[in-house]
Symmetry: C2
Amino acid sequence: MGGDALKPVRFYFDFISPFGYFASLRIDELAARYGRQVEWTSMLLGISVLKVMKIPPVVELPLKGTYVIRDASRYARQFAVPFRRAASLPVSRTVEAGRLFAWAKALDPGRAKHLAGQIFRSYFVECDDIGDLAVLRHCARAAGFEWAEYQAAREQGTPAQLLRQNVDDSLANGVFGSPFFIVDQEPFFGVEKLPVVEQWLAAGGW
Amino acid sequence: MGGDALKPVRFYFDFISPFGYFASLRIDELAARYGRQVEWTSMLLGISVLKVMKIPPVVELPLKGTYVIRDASRYARQFAVPFRRAASLPVSRTVEAGRLFAWAKALDPGRAKHLAGQIFRSYFVECDDIGDLAVLRHCARAAGFEWAEYQAAREQGTPAQLLRQNVDDSLANGVFGSPFFIVDQEPFFGVEKLPVVEQWLAAGGW
């Protein structure tokens, strides 16, 4: 795998996914231990799960819905991750957050990760509605992005186009859930795969 | 958790599940390190997934189907597990295998685990049809069970009744997939949760 040694790890997430949030707190440090950068891409579970796989959101499934809510709390306790959003709160639409992130990433991928961190924190810790433009404006400013610039790009339709490209990219790469990781060509789904991603990076595959 | 210290870990599986097979090779040894026995219970994905969650079998889902097949092979390579069944082979019906196991477990839980090992091996290594009674007879004999006794019980409907109880038990305990583990009251889904099960056993929960 020598020739691929410096390819960034791909990390895909949806802002409504607690496990995507949890993974976002670990993936860069993990990859860095193996000399890898990480490219973050926002996708939409509303497309991959509802439209492509044609199944309901996991939290709405009998048995599994209850389980994943418990699993998320258990993970947060284990890793001492700030996590206050009750499962009873309404689920935000993440299209606008995904667009803002896609736009920010095109400008400055490193700073866009701080923006993603602000959005995740706003949703899962402050319990804000991240479908609300005022909330996103606050996140953008906290990460050093000019809201007026985003508004101007938004009027041109650029963020929508960038997010659409990202979602298309995710589907073309077989991404169906959040978090999802691709190391070179190898796909890994779920935050519980982080130790396996690490083993893969350490071994160069098997 | 002191009072629960000796409660067996519950392990649920369906014989068609490669990840259930993989887990069956590790769970007893893992639990034993923490002084725990393991109680094995066969469930039916055809009930929990198709009838209760009302979603298609995972291998039939776009994107995720391809992923899980790849993930199973990757796991088998990583842990050097014998695994030869191609995803293109027809899926066996596992109702009879589940009944045979439920019956064997009622007679001798320890020897029933050897039977389960024979059935898993027959399916995933020998690539047999484990819906075939001749195949199951071979597995039963290899594990030291009298086929004639099973046939007699079968005519009374006992194995069917036992499996139904096991499936009801699985649903009552929130089990929706294979493998599934319950430590005291705590549920864990998927073979990738084995390290978390181990952490839970070591810490006594968190």
